[in-house]
Each structure stands twice: as C-alpha cells, then as structure tokens.
Subunit: 462 residues, 2 copies
Amino acid sequence: MKEVQEYLNNNKERFLEELLDFLRIPSVSADPAFNHDVAKTAEFVKDKLIAAGAENVEVCPTKGHPIVYGDKIIDPSLPTVLVYGHYDVQPPDPLDLWESGPFEPVIKKTETHPQGAIYARGACDDKGQAYMHIKAFEGMLATQNLPCNIKFMIEGEEEVGSYHLGDFCRANKERLACDVILVSDTSIIANDVPSITTGLRGLSYIEVEVTGANRDLHSGVYGGAVANPINVLSKMIASLHDENNHITIPGFYDDVEVVSKEERTAMNEAPFNLNHYKKDLDIDDIHGEKGFTTVERTSIRPTLDCNGIWGGYIGEGAKTVLPSKAFAKISMRLVPHQNSDKITALFQKHFESIAPDSVRVVVKPHHGGEAAVTPTNTPEYLAAHKAMEATFGKAPIPARSGGSIPIVALFEEVLEVKTVLMGFGLDSDAIHSPNERFGLFNYYKGIETIPYFYKYYAELKK
Amino acid sequence: MKEVQEYLNNNKERFLEELLDFLRIPSVSADPAFNHDVAKTAEFVKDKLIAAGAENVEVCPTKGHPIVYGDKIIDPSLPTVLVYGHYDVQPPDPLDLWESGPFEPVIKKTETHPQGAIYARGACDDKGQAYMHIKAFEGMLATQNLPCNIKFMIEGEEEVGSYHLGDFCRANKERLACDVILVSDTSIIANDVPSITTGLRGLSYIEVEVTGANRDLHSGVYGGAVANPINVLSKMIASLHDENNHITIPGFYDDVEVVSKEERTAMNEAPFNLNHYKKDLDIDDIHGEKGFTTVERTSIRPTLDCNGIWGGYIGEGAKTVLPSKAFAKISMRLVPHQNSDKITALFQKHFESIAPDSVRVVVKPHHGGEAAVTPTNTPEYLAAHKAMEATFGKAPIPARSGGSIPIVALFEEVLEVKTVLMGFGLDSDAIHSPNERFGLFNYYKGIETIPYFYKYYAELKK
C-alpha cells in the first residue's frame, strides 16, 4: 500500500490537470445541442482508461448516449469489482448565477474547502468522483498492487434517467459479471465526518401541460371568462400537498416503508445543526412534512417538488396576455417499496382527475427509478468502512441519502449484485446548481481511499 | 363627402402598401433590444404625417419612447379633434406559433375576413387603426374637406403602460388643447354589428418574486425539507381566488361600481353565442366568477390573471433541481371606482402577508391605469354614432370593453376632455397573440368612416 500511495501522491498535479480537461467538455446529456460533446467525452474516458492500463476498452453505442466499458482481469479466481460512474452532467442553467464558466474549471478556496475546490459543472457529480477510480486503478496497476479484477462501466445518461443502461446490462450480463459494484456518486456528511450511503430514494419525473384556449388571448377581452392555464396549473399544483405537507395523491403512501423507531432515533443522532443549515441556505424557516425531522424528510420520506414551471409572457416588461398553455416539470422522490411506475400512474390519474373541464391536461412521464437500501453487514460494506477508517482516521457513519441513483435497484435486479456507495462529495457542493464544486481534499481523499477498499475487499472475500 | 370618398377609394392600394411598411418595423416597446426600431417607427410616423399635410410635426422625446405630434389648424373658431394612437406593439412571443413572421405582413383570406386580413404584430393594435386616421386626414385635406382642426398624438409606450404620457400631457396642455379626443384602439362586435366602446377596465400590473434558498439545490438532497418557491408561489396564486372565483384580496371589491339591473339586462341582450365562443376558442367549458355571465365577466367585473410564470429548469429534458426562485407576472383588470394605486397596494400587502416564513417575497408594481365610462349623449358620441350608421348602414351598439386604455382617464384628468372610442377591430383579431390580424374590410371601413365623424362633429358643435 505504501508503494501505491507514493505513486498516487507523486502524480497529484497530473491527476488534477487531467480532471480539469475532463470537466472542460460540456457533456450535458439532457440537451441534444450537446450531443457532439457528449460523444467527445465518451472518447476522453476511453482514452484515459487505456492510458491507465485497462483492456477491452470500448465506447459501446446505445440508442442514446454511449457507455464506456473497460476491464483488467488479472486472475479469474480473484474477486471482481465493477466500477460504475457517469460522464454526463446536468444542464448548467441558470448560467447567469455562475461566478465562472461552468465548463471553464477554476480552483478557489472557500470556508468549506480551505485547501481549494474545483468549480465546474460535473466537478463532483460525477466526473470528479468517477475519475478518482481511474486514477486509483492506474496507481494500483502501475505498482503491481491490484488485488482484484476490475471492470469499468461509465455511462452518459445518468442525469436523464439512465434510459438505455438496463438494456445494456441485460445484453452484456456475462461481460459485466462481478462480485460487487462500487460507485462514488454520493456524499459524506463532512470532511471530518465520513459516511457511507446505505439508502437512496427512487424517482418519478413527470412533465405536465395545461391548455386553456387554442391561442394566447388578450387578458382584457377574455380575462375573467376563459380559464387561465397558469392560474389553473397553480391551483392543481397547490392541491398536491395538504396543510400538513402530506402529498394528496390517493394511494401515494400505500407502500411507503415504515422505518423503525430505533432507526429513526439513530438517524437523528447523526451530526446535524439546524441553525447552520438555515444559515447556509439563507432561509428563515424550514418547510416540510409534519411529524418528521429534516434528516427524515430528506431520506426516509417521499416528496413532491416542482423542478420547473413556465407559461405566458416571461420576458422583460409587461404583456397582458391570457396564455393558451402552462407547463411544469414535477418530480417525486420515492422510498423503499414504492414502485416508480405505480406512482407515476397514480400521479397521472390524479392529475387528470383534478383538471377542470375548462382546460385540457397532458401528463408526460419522463423517467423513474426505484429506491434502494444497502445492507451494512456485507464484505463490500465492511471493506468500504475499513478503507474510510484507514484514510479519515475515524469510522464512517451509515447514512441514508435523499438522492436517487436508480441504477442501484437495476443492478440488483439484472446483474444480481449489490452496490456499495462510497462517495466523497459534500451536500453543500452545489451539484445540479450553479457553482458546482469538488474539494481538492475530497478528490485526493477518494483516490487515496479506493486502493484500501480493494485491499480489504480482497481480504474479506478470501 | 363624395369627393373625399373618391380620393380615399382611388388610393386604397397605396394606403395598404404604406401600412405594410409601417408593420415591418418591429416596434416592441417592452424589450430594450428593440429600442432602435421603436425610434425608427416614430420617424416613420413623423414622415407620414408630414406627407399627409400635417404641420408642426415633431418627434418629442420623453424619458422613454418618443411621442409623435403634428397638427393642422385651419380655423381657430372651428372645433379641434385630437387623434390619439400608438405606434408601439406587444412582444410577438411565442414566436413558434406564428404562421408567418410577425413583422413580415402577409394578406390571407379567412372565414371571419373573406376579403382578406393583414397578418402582423400591430396590424390591428394599433398601427393599422392609428394609420386609418392619417390616411383619412390626408383625404380630407387633399380634397379641402377638413371641417375641424386636427391634432395628432401618437405615442410609443401604450403597451408598457404609457409611462411618460401623463408628464407629456401636463407639460403640453396648451399645445394639446382640443374639444374631443378620438381614438381607434378598440373593436366592433362584428363586421355586420358595429359598436362603440363606452367603458374600459382599469389595470394593475404586478411582478412577484418568491425566493427560497439562496441557490438552486439538488431536489434529492434538500427536497421535502426546504421550501420550493414554485410550489409556494403556486399555492399563493391559487389562494387568490376562492371556490366561486371571487378574488380573495381583502378590500378588493370595496369600490366596485354596482351596475344597475337594467344595464345588465341590456348588456346581455347584445348578440353573443356561447357555443360559437367556445368553438372559436376550442374549450369545453368557460370559467369565471359565479353569478355573472361571460359578457359581464369581461366588462363590468374586475379580474385577476397570471400573464406569465417561470422558475426552475424549463429547458429540454429533466433536471432534478429545487430552484432558488420563482416568478410571476400578475395583472388585475379593474372597473369604475376601483383605484389602481389602491388595488396595487392591497395586492402587495395581501401577497406579502400570505407568504410563509420559509420564503421571501418581492412584489414589484409594473404599471396601472384607471377604468373609464364614456357618456352616450355627447356631441362626440353622437357624431361617431352617425358616422358608423352612415358607412355600416345600421346603428352602432354602445358596448363596454374588457380591455384597458388607461389614457382615457388620464386625458379626462389632465386635459379635461372626453374621449370617443371608435375602433374598427374584432375581438377575434388575436391582438396580443400570435397571428394578430386586421381585416382589409375593417381598415378601409375605418378610413371611410372617419371623415363622416368630422363632418357630423362639426355640425353638432355648431
């Protein structure tokens, strides 16, 4: 291990430069305008896997964005780790809130990251975290210290719902055969409070369109007599939560996992300071489902949020228009046992049922994914635990995350393998937001920790 | 009169070509990107007034867009008519719904306009209607048949609330002195049902901004625990109407004019076919305040409509963002006795009071204007009545309009003169909407009718 860590340490500067190059390619998977850049990014990943020593490296086409595969089988009798990550990123909007270009990475020191952080879209989610694995692999291989076989599967559609990953896994079951899937796409509680993610929420993402009249109207001539789709949509959205902030869709809570009192107590003992939380977000009050704490609301409870809304005149100045249409993007975070297809169907049925006759509603499901809970008594969990303990100097806390990585449930179903979620970001790293960043501490700590995972995993699997 | 009408008839082709040139300049007053074009349009109006024979023509600067003035005083003892119109237009958005370019006028025949209509932004509102007056003036002057003095005041800020017109009128009281103000910026009920507008609604236009956290957040990490400004804004907007579609702002109805049973009965006897109305708009049901008919809802009752809403991710695909901000443009149409400043203040106070502690709200008043009712027993109303009767072959109906021309109240206050609203558009002409149009029948009928107004007005004022 000493030899590996020396190698990694001696190449830090280069590892950073390479990541910055990776971040400069705007691989926005949601917007077809970036298709060329997404393809270029896949080639970048391929080249870097080859340079690190991977074999059978291939940019595998799908019906959407390609998946990059590569492996290094050193001994079929050793355990095999499949590293999953994604090279696509969220759209950078709103652009005007970025302090520097989203695809022009800069390094700046902050209160949270006194050693500096890389500011760029994808720095943390997930280019930075995926690249840690390629560099740790390079170090282990270069120093002949790779104790497991390794496979890489780096996809380009995670931010749009991993549309084609399921088909790819089903078609490549043999090629992807492994003992465990290792993913760094989550966060730790703080740089001095390491944690391992043991739960993820599922997702149901929907777009709705409300149409009133067949054309935009003059609000003076028709206002007050013809349904205004913005007002109607607002009313429909408002009705999706009751006065206790419970979601009102019939059947929505039917399958929600009931978390034991013990787990809820343990969960609420993790370090959390409500005043710091409010100060960091600059809010006077929190807001959520009655009967649950902030930690619970963001982990074991399902939610419904509008992610976007638009309609009518949204330019400068005033326009007295009664618009024909209004739209919203609405997503629900789901918890274990809630099925995303079922929830999507419940939403659709309910949303259509509450529309007045004066409008027409179209509900268009975007994508979904299932929640997941990972056990803490498996060799892979223990290997991650020991690895983090070795590099952070303290035992990591098991923690449920509010985010969704639907592929965890997919891998369990299709590849029949458990996933370990050993992420190194921070919740405050503004992933999906302007000024996304990834601490240099976190990037290097990840690269340092990963070889320990392989070491302990190989030992525990013996 | 025969001579005038012959002149007008002989120059129809040229009158149309000139209007099309006028329509080709994109004079969008709301958007600073068009400032240069707005200025160019003022110059166009100036040139055309000079060409028609007006004197003292001047592009008068204001702190916003300029006002074009011109006059022709033939005899100080004759009555003076001040023609008001506006050369600015509404923004053309949404552009993708236009069948032809908003500033590339084309002539097409339709069911409503079997003789053809000019499709362009501003065709009806108000370039087409304002230009009728310049051409009628040209005809009267060229044939030495102008029976009154005439003054023109064509402004460039009507669509953004006539911000600087009040100051201009106050500063130019002498120059604008007149006996009546003549405006064509309203509609007739149908091409075979002429009408004169006797009432206009006032307006209060407001923009609101709701802020949750200080940055866009990941909806998985923070969703369910931090207020979502889109959901909150939706709830706030929804609460502005009760289950009977009454507006819930305290004090909102306090000053609303109570219209007599007789007037309501007469109003509802005007031709109106609900099935045609629904079919034209392609809606299954109408929607409005309980206890009032469609005709009443769009004339004698105040309303509240969202004219625009936006927040979060509104691009292609999906983004799981919990946005920092959401916005809406909200306007209220007011009826006689409601004061727009008072209503704006009531809205602001109420909207701020219903915001939960988890968000911050900014309410920004845009502009307002007062409602107006014009008497039907004045020389100017009777002149308009007789003029329309002469050219349409039937008596026009007095009709209250749902729209707002706040300058009518302004003129009464500052210039102490009544306005007559003799418009020639149709409600179905899609003003403020894509594919705005103005019938050739209507354009030429306006040019034909205007000289009769001058004739009868001069006679009645003798």
